[in-house]
Subunit: 337 residues, 4 copies
């Protein structure tokens, strides 16, 4: 039974906590840390054997904690990862790995220096059955080489603080990791395009929707739309164009209703709910790997977290320049293959 | 240029009139008859060279009328057909061929006695591109022999006079002809099933929806739902189960809209509009055949009209008996092959 | 941690065993019984702490077994249920509850006599998210009262021993329970219809496909197709017709591929895989309820197992008579409400 | 009866000729011109009353020709239009209006000088029922203002001479006119992006697929993929993102077949067949307008042909520069409103 310490029980952290307590086989949470003590204690109250530990470093060092789940604010991920690496404890780290590409590089270097793969990044789509099927079809080669992908990442609404930076580091980052994993390539160029902005954009620093054009080392183009206030629901699209055909991510299976001169299908606005099965599988895979003392090869590594950080930096640069920017990435080190 | 006389310019007759005037190549209407003189004159007013002839027999016999379109009330179809056959003029007859199986047989016998195929029945679905594709797949044999078909014929609303009889002679009759054509077989048994009736059924003599189970000579079962007040739109379904797979009629191609936590597609309530392309093709094929002096082999013949009448009679009998009734049909005569 | 004893580790029993060991939170298997000792020991070999107990009664009575999962051959379910009821242990019983309606009644009576709800029937579709959404829409009433349902239950292939009896007791039984649950009603009439049989039916005692028409106490009709060798895949359909519209079960979400003048979507032939998520949720719900000492209200009870048995008996009678048969059911006892 | 002269009876010209002879009401072809006399005479042979006229100018000036259909090679469109304008005859001109933006401007100026709208451009999608529905939804405003459109224009295969220029002037030009019509705006910026090229591109001067990014005067972005050897079929996509939702062009309605562990839908490779209904409606509308002495307001005008030419020029410029290019267009003159 893997004993887990969770740092951060906001909306997503609470879901992760409950998931481990109620659905994951072979893992349990023994300690929780959060700057909001009241909330943290409410979250753990229904469960026996879960302690609140105010100091995240104390939690990481606690002898009854075998593995750490980091769901705290972005700026803290790097330091908690470094601390856990020092102790050789397993880490599940929500994106991003660090607030900067340099910070991400530090974590990668520390992990490599430690000689053991400890960090699983929370890029959940790698565990989504639909993305998994899509990747299998593309890598099977039966449609020939991939050339282009059209992606869309749409949220119904955003918090008021949402701006062009978060559109990239919090939203586009998912397409960056997923597409890189799906086609087994990394990015070398990035361009940001700003169309007319929706009246639903409340923040003057948010262009919405926006388009991000990414080019991989082999020349493939990822044509990615980011739309954070599409109003109508959470909606994730992906079509991969290969030389002999295309493969397209399905919409979720939902009941079709005929009524009032239409037939319609419900859509959720809940991004966490949309990928619930992917989250479950991601955490089960992590718990299984930790219990076996290995790293889940299907999961995103610290290196993937680093690549995402370097790529998002280039997109942010293009948002300002309006031009095509270089992504200074190199091939994956042996340690992460 | 085929000179057409139209008998009956109610809703459907007016559409047929306008179709010939505005869309059909090689045909024009020269005379119109209708018991409602005022309405008939309004319909023809915008067009030059179209006469109103009060007496349908005078219209049929008019020297400037080469071919007759019968869209008058059901009870008159038989007599107009017999008159036109006498003159050797081409006939487009809306279903039914006659109000009774005996009457339909009389028309068939008269046509056979005349020695020439003159009557094209208005079973429009035979000209619908989707049904045509469905039939092509089934008869290609690549899915093996057909075993069962599930059909649904749904209208949004019905006129108050609509009852269990019209549900069969006016509605189910389309499935009867279409399925018989699609699988190249005729019916030998019929059963009517009455589920709970919708509150939208205003007529105490209407069970709605209802199910009709038909068995063909070779043992295939047509499982057919008739629902005349489904409220939500005009909706036609058909799935054919063959030994190695199934083939299903598509929904019409309509725009998909994402909004307000759904994605939806419009549906029409207009049955005539739903099959507009089929009607166009049906009339073009009829005009072409008449101009060439032949019979359109894709179309329904008087024999098909007779078969439909015998089959609907058996369904009506089962509505009363609640049991499985025989359909007294035999194989198609050489004349109609 | 619920300690579970599993009786029967054939194909489905092994899946249930592995599910509890690998995916279910709060439960573990401590003992397994199977007439095939070699196979059973292979199944449990990779896991510590699981004993093989040859005698199922010994397993049921074992002090380290809190709850029983019955996946043995159909004829044994009744006796194992009765034994476990005697001991007040929780039971997860795969369908059917008994090989006969009388046997099922005995189990119901024993459970009621014991005064505690102990049996959860393995009708997994009640835990399928798509069926759940379908039921929610129907019971919400926003489409009005349900009138008819069209169902299809299709398997790609069947074992040679599959015959008309198993088509009902092993296959149609799922639609019987699911539709009864979905519309909150029970059946009063049943009719079996045999269309032309597929050449893929190897057993002279199997008509395939076949149609089962069921009428509920309130007059709703369930129009159900059973096709056990449709060749093309495992395929479950359900459309519920309500007074103001219809609701239809979706196909599973799978990638759409465009290639070679088609676009296609894969379908599975694996019925257990098709409903994998439903099985997971069903077992998690069962484990949670047992751990809390309650009965999962979403699940099928012994009473539901009894109703299914009485209904399948009537369908089998109609297979022989060719007519409409009564289903001798009454309203649900207070104990099971 | 409109008497039409057709210039050019290659693949598309022959289809247009046959369409007018067999399907269009109120028009007939009286003369045909083509540099290939043998072929032209074969095409007209089955029809009475159609003359072959070798010299296109003689055809345009022929007293039995009321209106001209121009389907000859692109470089000739401009001169034939100018000649017909001189005579005040109606013109149906396939795209492009001229081989250059300057030439297109000359035609526009000549038409304006003549004071009468004579030219209908063959931008057939404006008559496609699906695009029509899409436009109606967008301009209704119920989804708010349009912000972005994703388009794809895919052909199964291309002729060997197909290169980057034709990809724009022969293929992307359809999206350029259609989107401009659909959102009622014109383009001010254009960018061409070249992803990795498919191995199916036989021409070293063809990048395939390629992406064209167009910005309208109001800031809307059209994100358009051009893929001329996608292998799998003719496929046209369009999704319009509006502030409150999106609207998406449907796939054509085709039978769905379940077989061999898939369900699939056929796709055509025939672009002319794909839009057959649009071509029929386009020509019927043209014939009706000519017979009434008016211009069909739904159709593309010479001004639209000019706008398309200016826009394609800018895309071609970007193909060379790799950067974002200006499209030197201004608002529509009063004459064309």
């Amino acid at each position: 039974m893997l004993r887990v310490g969770v740092i951060g029980v906001g909306a997503m952290g609470t879901q992760h906590f409950l998931r481990i307590m109620n659905k994951i086989n072979g893992a349990t949470v023994t300690a929780v840390s959060d700057i909001n003590e009241v909330r943290a204690k409410e979250v753990i109250a229904p469960f026996e054997g879960v302690r609140y530990i105010a100091d995240p470093y104390a939690l990481i060092n606690d002898p009854e904690v075998d593995a750490i789940v980091i769901v705290s604010i972005d700026s803290t991920h790097e330091e908690y990862c470094l601390e856990a690496i020092k102790l050789g404890k397993y880490i599940f780290c929500e994106k991003p790995l660090s607030a900067s590409a340099e910070g991400a590089r530090k974590v990668v270097d520390a992990e490599m220096a430690g000689g053991k793969r400890l960090i699983q990044m929370g890029f959940n789509r790698r565990f989504d059955p639909a993305y998994e099927e899509l990747k299998n079809i593309v890598v099977s080669g039966k449609l020939g080489e991939p050339l282009v992908a059209h992606c869309a990442h749409r949220n119904a609404n955003y918090a008021p603080q949402y701006d062009d930076v978060i559109a990239v580091t919090g939203t586009a980052i998912h397409e960056i990791d997923t597409m890189s994993w799906l086609v087994g390539d990394y990015f070398v160029k990035a361009q940001s395009i700003f169309p007319k902005t929706s009246r639903h954009s409340k923040n003057p620093n948010l262009h919405d929707p926006q388009i991000v054009i990414l080019t991989t080392a082999s020349g493939m183009v990822i044509n990615c739309e980011i739309w954070t206030n599409c109003q109508y629901g959470y909606d994730i699209r992906c079509e991969v164009l290969c030389e002999d055909g295309t493969a397209t991510l399905p919409r979720p299976a939902r009941v079709d209703v005929c009524t009032a001169n239409t037939h319609y299908t419900g859509m959720t606005s809940d991004g966490l709910g949309y990928f619930a099965e992917a989250y479950d599988r991601e955490f089960q895979a992590w718990a299984d790997a930790c219990n076996e003392g290995t790293f889940c090869s299907a999961a995103a590594s610290a290196w993937d977290g680093y690549c995402a950080a370097v790529t998002t930096d280039a997109v942010l640069k293009s948002q300002k320049s309006g031009g095509i920017e270089e992504v200074p990435l190199t091939d994956r080190p042996e340690f992460y293959k």
